[in-house]
């Protein structure tokens, strides 16, 4: 190596090691929420996030679309559930096998019930239904 290159190389090396010393180790700590979830305590928000994340899965969304239900409509339905109802859906999704068809089964059951009640005029969740009352 030419002397100037070696000099540059050692300068760069010195800078790098100096930077390593100066680096304040910002440790990556495990978040409390993650530990709590592992201990079985999942907040209502986390449960909603979990159900919505399941809806956003490509295979689930495709299955819903095949049946004429958009992800937005599914989300709106989830948003209309109480926290305890979401917890039930989340638990059912947890305990069901993870295949798309099983997940769809859970979600569609929730949907069909609501379609019927919309048509019978007891609820008005879907804009496309016309109630008989």
């Amino acid at each position: 190596m030419k002397r100037s290159t070696r000099w540059t190389a050692s300068l760069v090396a010195a800078c790098l090691s100096f930077a390593g010393l100066m680096q304040t180790a910002q440790a990556t700590l495990v978040a409390t929420e993650q530990v709590a979830a592992s201990e079985g305590v999942r907040s209502a928000t986390a449960q909603r996030d979990y159900v919505n994340a399941t809806l956003a899965r490509d295979d689930v969304a495709a299955g819903l679309a095949e049946r004429g239900v958009s992800v937005e409509q599914a989300r709106a339905r989830v948003a209309a559930l109480t926290d305890d109802e979401v917890a039930v859906v989340a638990h059912t999704l947890d305990t069901a096998p993870a295949g798309a068809s099983d997940v769809l089964g859970v979600i569609l059951t929730v949907f069909i019930v609501l379609l019927i009640t919309d048509i019978l005029g007891f609820t008005k969740v879907f804009p496309f239904t016309r109630s008989i009352r």
Binding site: T32, A36, T45
Partner: protein, 290 residues
């Protein structure tokens, strides 16, 4: 029917009646029973509360109502610890007896045509079979205990108490305290979260989540030494990988590389598959610093 059971066999340590007459009142406007109820309990707990300000935060016009999550989050953003209370009539009455007004979610309609409504329970009279609520535009609404029980049951008996950090509902259960602490930690200044976790750990010293919460909050508040002590105690007590991981990270920040490496190795040794990736990362961090 809890009402009948309570009236026939009232628990000896439950007062026959109680009324929190000093609880403030904020009349609701339009659909905003949520902000009004929230303001009521926040003001009762000594926090500044203005339904007009809370409204935009917790009220969702598209739904013409407030999600339960938003109520709890709204309380936390105001600096209060919002904790779910057990879903029993006795529990909410005990809270009133203890001086804690309770936000309750009622379904004033039918189970298939719900009319959700937030109100604040401020009193009861077992002999008369009545409860008292701050509700809607009525400062002192008397409702039969039976009707209250029905309308409240239809919401899943959802209720919470809002208190200053360090205080807990008298009927609080361990899981609800963990949920409340973790939620509070997300939005509160670290020093406040420390107070919450310390008070919870005093009651439930064997709870790992609470210990991790305390350690993380101490860390976030800049007390690295304190955080390390808490993580070490939790790691030893629970043989917990995440506690070792966080101990290792904190020790690295304190410049104690040898001890950090030891802690990271302990995390690996715990053999818990759920924490494998993070244990590996902690070990790499500890090694990288040498």
């Amino acid at each position: 029917m809890q009402t009948r059971a309570l009236r026939e066999q009232p628990p000896v340590d439950l007062a026959r009646s109680a009324e929190l007459a000093g609880t403030p009142f904020f009349a609701q406007t339009d659909y905003q029973c949520g902000p009004a109820a929230l303001a009521t309990v926040l003001a009762a707990a000594g926090f500044p509360a203005d339904p007009g300000e809370l409204g935009p935060q917790v009220f969702l016009p598209a739904r013409t109502g407030t999600l339960q999550i938003e109520m709890i989050a709204g309380a936390r953003r105001a600096g209060a610890v919002a904790t779910r209370v057990p879903a029993t009539l006795e529990a909410v009455l005990r809270e009133v007896q203890a001086g804690h007004p309770v936000v309750v979610l009622q379904n004033l309609g039918l189970s298939w045509i719900p009319a959700w409504h937030y109100a604040v329970l401020v009193g009861y009279d077992i002999a008369a079979g009545e409860v008292l609520l701050r509700s809607g535009t009525t400062r002192r609404e008397a409702m039969t205990m039976r009707t209250f029980e029905h309308t409240w049951k239809r919401s899943g008996s959802w209720a919470f108490v809002a208190l200053p950090p360090g205080q807990w509902p008298v009927t609080v259960q361990e899981a609800a305290a963990v949920e409340a602490g973790v939620g509070f930690e997300r939005v509160a200044p670290p020093s406040q979260a420390v107070a919450v976790y310390r008070s919870a750990l005093a009651r439930w010293p064997a709870n790992l989540s609470l210990a991790m919460g305390l350690g993380n909050s101490l860390h976030a508040s800049g007390d690295l030494r304190g955080a390390a002590e808490v993580f070490r105690a939790a790691a030893t007590q629970h043989r917990s990988a995440p506690a070792w991981i966080n101990l290792s990270g904190t020790l690295l920040e304190l410049g104690e590389k040898g001890a950090a490496l030891e802690a990271a190795r302990s995390a690996q040794a715990s053999g818990d598959a759920a924490w494998q990736v993070q244990s590996d990362a902690a070990l790499q961090e500890a090694l990288g610093q040498r």
